[in-house]
């Protein structure tokens, strides 16, 4: 009976870990920026959290299904990280997935007033110039934000071996005048926890296999 319970427990945790493996890339893409602590920030945390891709809107009171961006809401870029800058669409991403950011105040409510705001103009994928306001808070997130703004990020950024993996992607807010405000990535505790879970699961399996192999009887023996 006890064996059955522990076996089922093992399967349960195994399933959780496998689900984690599947979900981690999604989480890495997701924008769970609020509620964590931002590198170098030290500001208060809290605030809203929702699913997905930062949706830009100048109307904080706007309902979640309305989207002021002229871009269609039913398409979601395959690589959200490259949706900013030269290589892809500059505007906020689709309504589906990620974390919604209604306005810049959502971000500043959690992370405070930016230390520096830099306006810049970059061409978007259609060749037209797009105005951006890049908010810097200092710390590691700023560096990652600029990396994302370059258009494409190194593969290492998507692996657990790089700190950027544990950060969300930049948050974008489209202003009424068409410009886009960019807020730096924030540390994602959920990604960290899931990574630790999966890593722990893998280590557990390896130790189990090694221990079993050590305790086991050799392949030459009739006792197997």
């Amino acid at each position: 009976m006890n064996m059955k319970v522990s076996s089922r427990l093992g399967w349960f945790f195994g399933l959780i870990a496998i689900c984690s493996l599947i979900l981690i890339p999604t989480l890495a893409d997701a924008r769970g920026s609020f509620g964590g602590s931002r590198g170098g920030g030290g500001r208060s945390s809290g605030g809203s959290r929702s699913f997905g891709g930062s949706r830009g809107s100048s109307r904080p009171s706007a309902p979640s299904y309305s989207r002021p961006s002229p871009r269609p809401s039913y398409s979601r870029p395959n690589s959200p990280s490259s949706s900013f800058g030269r290589s892809s669409t500059p505007a906020p991403r689709s309504s589906f997935g990620g974390t919604r950011l209604n306005s810049g105040s959502d971000y500043t409510r959690s992370y405070g007033i930016p230390r520096k705001s830099t306006p810049m103009t970059l061409p978007n994928s259609s060749g037209a110039n797009q105005n951006y306001v890049v908010h810097n808070y200092g710390g590691r997130g700023d560096g990652f934000m600029m990396g994302y703004m370059m258009g494409s990020v190194p593969f290492m950024w998507r692996t657990p071996f790089h700190p950027a993996y544990y950060y969300t992607q930049p948050s974008y807010v489209t202003m009424p005048d068409g410009s886009v405000e960019v807020y730096p990535p924030t540390f994602s505790y959920s990604t960290l926890i899931f990574t630790l879970l999966v890593g722990g699961f893998i280590i557990y399996i390896v130790i189990k296999v090694l221990r079993r192999r050590r305790m086991g009887i050799g392949s030459n023996s009739s006792f197997d």
């Binding site: 064996m3 076996s7 296999v209 086991g216 009887i217 023996s221 009739s222 006792f223």
Partner: protein, 160 residues
């Protein structure tokens, strides 16, 4: 007349069991207790091809669903191993014990107890089950008691 052999260097990891020339597999326990007084216990416990554990009298019962495997050791490797063979029909009077193919005489008793307590439960499922890790140690005991010409007795390990 059946032939039952144990080839080993004293470690269970390097122990091959032969029955009528075929190497067995899936063996869990061997218990031989032969005595000149007529005691004849020869028991083999093994896991069959149907995953069922069988307990059989070695020299009198049929080994149902026993697993056999190709010989593990080459002749060169066997040089480092001791081979104990018991040929019998289940009666102590018709029992011959050989060590490294040499017949032994003057045996008072033969005691062999080999037991593997490591449970092999294959598959990924087994990685999550805390199951049956027995506290009993692996058993490897094999002794022959001889009677010397001066009527003294001497106990010898078989595989050491």
């Amino acid at each position: 007349m059946r032939s039952f052999s144990i080839e080993s260097n004293g470690r269970l990891e390097n122990t091959a069991i032969y029955f009528n020339g075929e190497q067995l597999s899936g063996v869990k326990e061997i218990f031989l207790n032969l005595d000149e007084d007529g005691t004849f216990d020869a028991i083999l416990r093994y896991e069959g091809t149907d995953k069922v554990i069988y307990t059989k009298q070695i020299f009198t019962e049929y080994f149902e669903n026993v697993k056999v495997r190709p010989p593990s050791y080459s002749e060169d490797e066997a040089q480092n191993l001791q081979l104990l063979t018991v040929e019998s029909d289940g009666d102590i009077r018709n029992t011959t014990v050989l060590r490294n193919d040499e017949q032994l005489d003057g045996i008072i008793s033969l005691f062999v107890h080999l037991k593997n307590n490591v449970t092999k439960d294959g598959g990924i499922k087994s990685l999550f089950s805390r199951a049956p890790e027995s506290n009993e140690p692996t058993v490897f005991r094999a002794e022959i008691t001889f009677r010397n010409s001066d009527d003294s007795t001497e106990v010898e390990g078989v595989f050491s």
